[in-house]
């Protein structure tokens, strides 16, 4: 079936827009194995490691998982320029700021005072404080990187399809979710117009977080009113096209759950367990 589909999709004239969540993915090379996996596999595989990482306190365990996740993403995923910047610049910078921030805020009375990094008047920055901060930041970074395995390689519509096809979520819910993805850019545009309209009316001039919050609240009613009306129309149009006629529907876009998905999950779980076993007790 996917072959028929692939034939039907050849001969496309225009390249898909970069931020088009529906655009058909061009065929990936064999190396980019993450792109060929079922979305559910990519969500399920890192899940145990993510849960354990919440309780980890040392530097080594999160660092190893961070490296593992980065390796998988950089080798196995086809990345947009924006994603590469996110991975190689934004995330490291974020971790650096976090570790310094956590380090400064750590309660000095509960850590070792062996290494002194900096003394300003009667305030001292201890090496152990930075270490605690780094551990916290690495832990968050590892959880983030493990989530990005799925986050950077699956699209909303594919996830919705695999929820319907593998987890037996009723298709009325799954496909309504797919339709809802269309709402996002529309609402973005509508919000822009509402903001311009409120600004030109001089609604709530002034500065400060409270005024800003009240100003945002003022956008909610017109946005919701438009959203509900739009959703009602879309619902009528879907009903008029036999949506929900039968308990199931023909699927042209199969998101198969194959042996390779099982292999990926099992391998990931085994490797996670091995790392956790070797590095026990994770600094606690």
């Amino acid at each position: 079936m996917s072959a028929v589909d692939a034939v039907a999709r050849t001969g496309t004239a225009a390249p898909p827009a970069a931020d088009d969540p529906y655009a058909a993915a061009p065929p990936a090379s064999a190396w980019r194995f993450l792109m060929a996996l079922n979305p559910l596999a990519k969500l399920a595989a890192p899940l145990p490691a993510i849960i354990v990482l919440v309780f980890v306190r040392d530097l080594m365990t999160p660092a190893v998982f961070l490296v593992l996740a980065y390796t998988l993403i950089l080798v196995g995923a086809r990345l947009t320029a924006r994603a590469v910047v996110l991975l190689l610049v934004a995330v490291p910078a974020f971790l650096l700021v976090l570790s310094l921030g956590f380090g400064v805020w750590t309660d000095a009375s509960r850590i070792s005072h062996d290494v002194v990094l900096l003394e300003l008047g009667n305030w001292t920055l201890y090496g152990a404080a930075i270490e605690t901060g780094l551990a916290t930041a690495l832990r968050l970074g590892a959880i983030l990187a493990l989530s990005l395995i799925a986050g950077l390689t699956i699209t909303g519509p594919d996830l919705a399809r695999s929820l319907v096809q593998q987890l037996r979520v009723p298709y009325r819910i799954g496909y309504t979710a797919i339709a809802a993805f269309r709402f996002v850019p529309r609402f973005g545009h509508e919000l822009e117009v509402i903001r311009a309209a409120h600004r030109v009316r001089g609604a709530m001039d002034g500065r400060g977080p409270i005024v800003a919050a009240r100003r945002r609240l003022g956008y909610v009613v017109p946005l919701l009113a438009g959203a509900i009306r739009h959703a009602e129309r879309v619902a009528l149009a879907m009903d008029a096209r036999a949506f929900g006629a039968y308990p199931d529907r023909t699927e042209r876009h199969l998101v198969p759950f194959r042996t390779r998905d099982v292999v990926f999950i099992v391998l990931f779980w085994v490797v996670s367990a091995a790392i956790l076993w070797l590095l026990y007790p994770w600094g606690r």
């Binding site: 898909p16 797919i178 001089g202 739009h230 529907r249 876009h253």
Partner: protein, 599 residues
């Protein structure tokens, strides 16, 4: 006609004494409609606004009463099914729908998936789904673009896609509810070209609800007219119904083709036009074969619509070398424009020409570069919101977007409070605006709870409450039914008569021709032309170069040697009329504003 005795294969759709009462409504609109559509027939459903045409369309595939809260009386049978007894999903195999808003009909991510959506829901095998999708996309000329996101299509393209989606269901009846109301002239032409091909193939019956008769009249077989009371007053072939009963339908408030309206007016003025023309070509042909009457009523003075032709020193808006960028993309390139006090200026152009951006820059919605725009004595690139608001009021396309207060009173008082007026002065000015815009008694209502027409009037009132001499409106009639659009234009005409300078962005060329004194034509962010309306529309090449279409009458009265008195007319109001005939010629004029009941 008794539906039970009619062989099922002879009827596509049968309505028997159909009435619909919307939840919360106190009467049924429509109330009593009966007619039958046979296979392959193309039926145009006409009626004054509020008579329930769109409601009837929703009832034909069972959305009423199954999905929309409303009570249905009488019976509707489609392809042998009674709509009251079947689900909408099952009925969709007999009736396919195309709605007004192309954006609200998109579900998936590519054209192919979109067209395949219905066949997939009907559990057809994949080869069948693909065969149907291909056939449907080819019929509307979109097969080559099947892998694209529907967002990348123009409005007309998306509406053609909606037609393809309806075709893919294979139902013998297609119901289209105002399919071109949200489109620009090029889009309307595109959709009607696709529909005309469909009609030529003759394999589907079509029921069309449409106010743009100029485009539709060419391929319709039959007209069914319902009146205010919601019953059928005429049912028959297009020619006899429209030609012989035009006066009666006009009086009912049914919108007629522009050429027919013009002919009615000319006939009253003593011209012999028999049979009554329905298209611009027919009107021109009959005029060429008739003589100017011996004592024709004189055409109204055309110059009366063009005040302010003095020196440019009294221009109220002055734009010099205005360039606007969005991000790195330039939207406007070096625009120069002078608008004189008292003009009614229409800014026209194809989609993406920069119309809205220009008007937003003039009104300071998007602050223009300093020194490029002057409104009165104010530079919107420099001034604060309250100062700008005292010179120019801006009305957004959707009035709801600009409401910021919880009551109508506060909504109007907001601009005045910002200017530091005392409570008594505010109350006096607000009540004056409430009276002028017909909103008395609604002071304490939440703006969102007003009817559509009231919301629009309130948005104009808030724009003008601070005493601005200029009013700018962005596509004020987009997506509205004819009656509501007319109601708004009358309001604008009144403000214009009282001295307000009005600027509208519009793509409805007949509307522009009827109301605007001047037209500014934009193309790709550049000013192509700016001048009096008649001069602009006389230049067919200019209009074509801008990607626009001339209003229907423009081609009729150009180079017409038989009638020098009519040469160059584009506005209905400029045509000679009988002395007894009031100046207004549009059907909605004669009636009180009743846009409120349109839903």
């Amino acid at each position: 006609m008794d539906a039970a005795t009619t062989p099922e294969d002879r009827e596509t759709l049968t309505l028997a004494r159909v009435g619909v009462t919307h939840e919360g409504a106190d009467r049924a609109t429509p109330s009593d409609v009966s007619f039958t559509v046979r296979p392959g027939e193309v039926v145009l459903l006409l009626g004054p606004s509020g008579s329930g045409k769109s409601t009837l369309a929703l009832a034909m595939n069972g959305l009423i009463p199954h999905a929309v809260p409303a009570e249905l009386t009488g019976s509707i049978r489609v392809g042998g099914m009674n709509t009251a007894d079947e689900t909408v999903a099952r009925l969709s195999t007999r009736v396919a729908m195309v709605f007004q808003d192309p954006d609200a009909q998109l579900v998936t991510g590519t054209l192919l998936d979109e067209v395949a959506f219905a066949p997939e829901n009907l559990r057809m095998p994949v080869p069948e789904v693909l065969a149907r999708s291909e056939a449907a996309l080819r019929r509307v000329g979109l097969w080559e673009r099947r892998a694209e996101n529907p967002d990348r299509l123009s409005g007309g393209g998306r509406q053609r896609l909606a037609i393809a989606c309806a075709l893919a269901m294979g139902s013998p009846l297609l119901v289209l509810d105002e399919p071109t109301a949200n489109l620009d002239p090029a889009g309307i032409e595109e959709v009607y070209a696709a529909l005309a091909e469909l009609v030529a193939d003759g394999d589907r019956a079509i029921v069309l609800v449409e106010h743009n008769l100029d485009a539709a009249i060419g391929f319709v077989d039959r007209v069914v007219v319902i009146d205010d009371a919601g019953g059928v007053v005429a049912d028959g072939p297009v020619g006899p119904v429209l030609r012989e009963r035009a006066d009666e339908l006009h009086a009912l408030g049914v919108w007629l083709p522009t050429a027919t309206l013009a002919a009615l007016r000319l006939r009253d003025a003593g011209y012999t036009l028999d049979p009554l023309p329905l298209t611009p070509a027919e009107l021109r042909e009959s005029l060429e074969n008739t003589k100017t009457p011996a004592h024709p009523a004189p055409p109204p003075a055309r110059t009366s619509q063009h005040p302010g032709t003095g020196a440019s020193s009294d221009s109220i808006i002055r734009v010099r070398d205005l360039t606007v960028r969005r991000g790195r993309t330039p939207i406007l390139h070096g625009i120069d424009l002078d608008v004189e006090a008292g003009e009614f200026l229409a800014v026209v152009g194809a989609n993406g020409a920069g119309k809205t951006t220009l008007v937003q820059a003039i009104a300071g919605v998007v602050p223009p570069p300093r020194g490029t725009v002057r409104v009165g004595a104010v530079d919107p690139g420099r001034a604060d919101v309250a100062t700008i608001a005292s010179q120019i009021g801006f009305v957004f396309q959707n009035p709801e977007h600009q409401f910021i207060a919880h009551t109508v009173f506060d909504e109007l008082a907001h601009g005045l409070r910002r200017r530091g007026l005392d409570d008594a002065a505010i109350a006096a000015q607000v009540s004056d605006v409430l009276r002028r815009f017909g909103l008395e008694g609604r002071e304490q209502t939440h703006p969102f709870l007003l009817s559509g027409g009231q919301k629009r009037r309130l948005s104009v009132g808030t724009a003008l409450v601070a005493g601005a001499p200029v009013l700018a409106l962005d596509e004020p009639t987009f997506g509205q039914d004819r009656a509501r659009a007319d109601e708004l234009l009358h309001l604008l005409d009144g403000l214009h008569r009282d001295g307000t300078t009005v600027i509208v962005v519009s793509h409805d060329m007949q509307l522009v021709a009827e109301h605007a004194t001047h037209v500014a034509v934009l193309r790709d962010g550049r000013m192509l032309a700016h001048g009096p309306t008649a001069e602009i529309f006389a230049d067919a090449q200019l209009i074509a170069a801008a990607g626009l279409r001339r209003p229907p009458l423009a081609s009729v009265f150009q180079n017409l040697p038989a009638h020098p008195a009519l040469e160059g007319i584009v506005r209905l109001a400029d045509l000679p009329a009988a002395d007894t005939q009031p100046a207004d010629t549009q059907p909605a004029d004669a009636r009180p504003a009743r846009a409120e009941v349109a839903r």
